[in-house]
Symmetry: C2
Amino acid sequence: MIPLFLRPMHAVTNYLKKNQTRFIRELCEYLKFPSVSAQSEHRADMVACANWLVAHCNGLGLETRLCPTAGHPVVVAKTPRSAAGTDRPRFLVYGHYDVQPPEPFELWQSPPFEPRLVGRSLFARGATDNKGQHLAHLKAVEAYLKTGTELPCDITFVIEGEEEVGSKSLAAFLKKHRKELQCEAIIISDTGMPSPKHPALTYALRGIAAFEIILRGPSRDLHSGIFGGTVDNPAMALCQLLAKLRDANGRVAIPGFYDDVEPLSAYERKQFKRLPFAARQYRDFLGVAKLFGERGYTPIEQRSARPTFEINGLTSGYQGEGSKTIIPAWARAKITARLVPNQTPARISNLVVRHLKRLCPPSVHLEVTTGHGAVPYLVSPKNSQAQAAVRALREAFGFEPVLMREGGSIPIVNEFKQILGADSLMLGLALPDDNAHSPNEKFDLGCFEKGQLMSAYLWRELGGVRRKA
Amino acid sequence: MIPLFLRPMHAVTNYLKKNQTRFIRELCEYLKFPSVSAQSEHRADMVACANWLVAHCNGLGLETRLCPTAGHPVVVAKTPRSAAGTDRPRFLVYGHYDVQPPEPFELWQSPPFEPRLVGRSLFARGATDNKGQHLAHLKAVEAYLKTGTELPCDITFVIEGEEEVGSKSLAAFLKKHRKELQCEAIIISDTGMPSPKHPALTYALRGIAAFEIILRGPSRDLHSGIFGGTVDNPAMALCQLLAKLRDANGRVAIPGFYDDVEPLSAYERKQFKRLPFAARQYRDFLGVAKLFGERGYTPIEQRSARPTFEINGLTSGYQGEGSKTIIPAWARAKITARLVPNQTPARISNLVVRHLKRLCPPSVHLEVTTGHGAVPYLVSPKNSQAQAAVRALREAFGFEPVLMREGGSIPIVNEFKQILGADSLMLGLALPDDNAHSPNEKFDLGCFEKGQLMSAYLWRELGGVRRKA
């Protein structure tokens, strides 16, 4: 006997259970569009894919329209106004219908745009990134609408077509529709979960600050026999400069670098411990004999919750075959620092530039330029929205969810925060072996179905939650 | 009244003085051949040039022949056997009739193979490097032969056609004709002198040892957001490794590196002080704000008589425009150490490899390969041949000669030593502004004429000198 207050949910979950076969068929239809945003020969496919999505959303009962941008159009689909009024909280679901280029074709075991089911894995380009993931949310909303179950919140889907090419038009789109898109939070299923037994909420992202350092020595490459010994070697000077910026314990050795870093709470560190991590497998996967990172932190903390200072490239002098006996005229390093809350690219840039100037010897000339930056992102995993998401994940997957930080940056999250003033809840459905951006991309049908359930529960859980004004 | 024992020399020097105009005309003829050994379209010009040289030497009374090699032929020209017997010491004069490519043409003020006289400067490709310099020696011998003055020694000219492309065939040629080419010493005028007032004997060359260091980290470039913090960065590891190999005083910080270095004698250091050196001009010429070198040595000593450890090139990760957020899979440095007597490439290689292995952290994998090597060269400036050369320089130029070390390597000097067992006396006639290897190469006619005189005196001075058995 089902308690009365659970009845409507039962209708929704029942609907989902009964319609999985059709949902898979629809996902396959969706996956057949080679919606490769990066390749201009797929422009018509992009349009066809967006049109399919519009038709599909309309069919679910969503008020749907195609919004042109300077690039590929954005699909906006909204749940119909509640008969009861307009006081429901509004959430935004973000997704993208464009996909990565499928090349190299020869590494695919079946054609990337001919979806193929093997066991519970659906292989196709875009399966996990991101068509399968946002379709799960659409199916959950369909279940509410088709069963006549009152949705506890208003939902607006924003599904763009340029995520794989840097979401170039999204900021302008958000600014233009800022009023219409006001919301309590943004729901994004475009990240990962560690395993089917570890449903995950990603609540923080690292930021970034980019630099380019050039040390200039003589006005041209010099003959190392004739002049070697009398002038500093810019390549050696660069090595000696950079060597001082990280200590033997893996700590960044720039004064003040850690000043703004919010210490990890005991709660977070406890959560990280619950994440599955096998050091040997991880080492093998990366191809290193030994891991190396900041002492005092676990690899999971090191790669997601601690800042780094990484040399991305070195260039100096002769790089061809054999040797060339020169003192190079200059040496260059490209560097990106990964930042964590509450570091900012501006402050870190200042610290780096100041320290480099202090360290640089007078025998070479220093040029530092700062490149792109992104602030780190953090939403407290203890806030009411995050906890609502955790409950939905737990109920849908049947396992205790893990709370994760992501080591990379997701620029759109910062844009949502900046333009709409709302936080993002990242509820990724991708498994580590889903091959996003690689040949033989797949989506796990278990994740697809549980993702629909999670979404269905999420609206119920979020229905009573509003962000603080 | 000229003393009797000076009379024959007077005839020689008189002959030289009287024939300068013709000599210059002959040098111009010689310079008109575009004998560019590096460029196959000049193959016929190479042959024509060699044939001109053979004819010219025959005309002087030398027994001359063209010796084929795997590459361009070698011209061998010998003074005729003395009527008095065969007990005269034999010396070898080395030169090369090939020249550097003249490109870029647009930077020449007149065509490179149309010799042009401006004041006392004769502009043409090959003027100073090396046609003018060995022609001076030929003219001195011509003066002896044409005036019927008994030459105090037998002289064999070896004038090759591949110096500018690495003297590839010379070793084989020397081995094949080892017996015929036995000599007391080799005379080479293919180096420089600091100024017209500083005739120079170069008595030492630095050697070289080449290395390539690769540090390997992950099996591929890694996403610095997803993985950054958990694995060592090979570019950073390389910087930290290389940074330890030179100290703040400009000393190479590899244990044992200086063990074999023969300390500079007070005599040598006194000689170096006599060399003209203007720090500000030198700085300006190199385009550096500050000189930097091993503490305790003058720039002249640093660049010619002290060893170095020079990074010639750095390569790692992303080198294009903007930034790429990766941990590079590997980082590479190309290095050459300049060696001084009595360092050897083999021993230095061992020290470098051993030290790198000791320093390299377990988080990266080290690969070191050793490249080409050349032993340093030194002939005592106090030995009787060197002192004979100093006397000849002094008498010809009218200034006290300077004793120099050269910072670069001249591989043929090592080959002469190794194959013929003889030392080389380097009596360079090139001035610092002669633009060897550059557009607007020139030769100073004062150096041409004084070079002839020097050569004439040299045979007299060397006539009584034999190397120790």
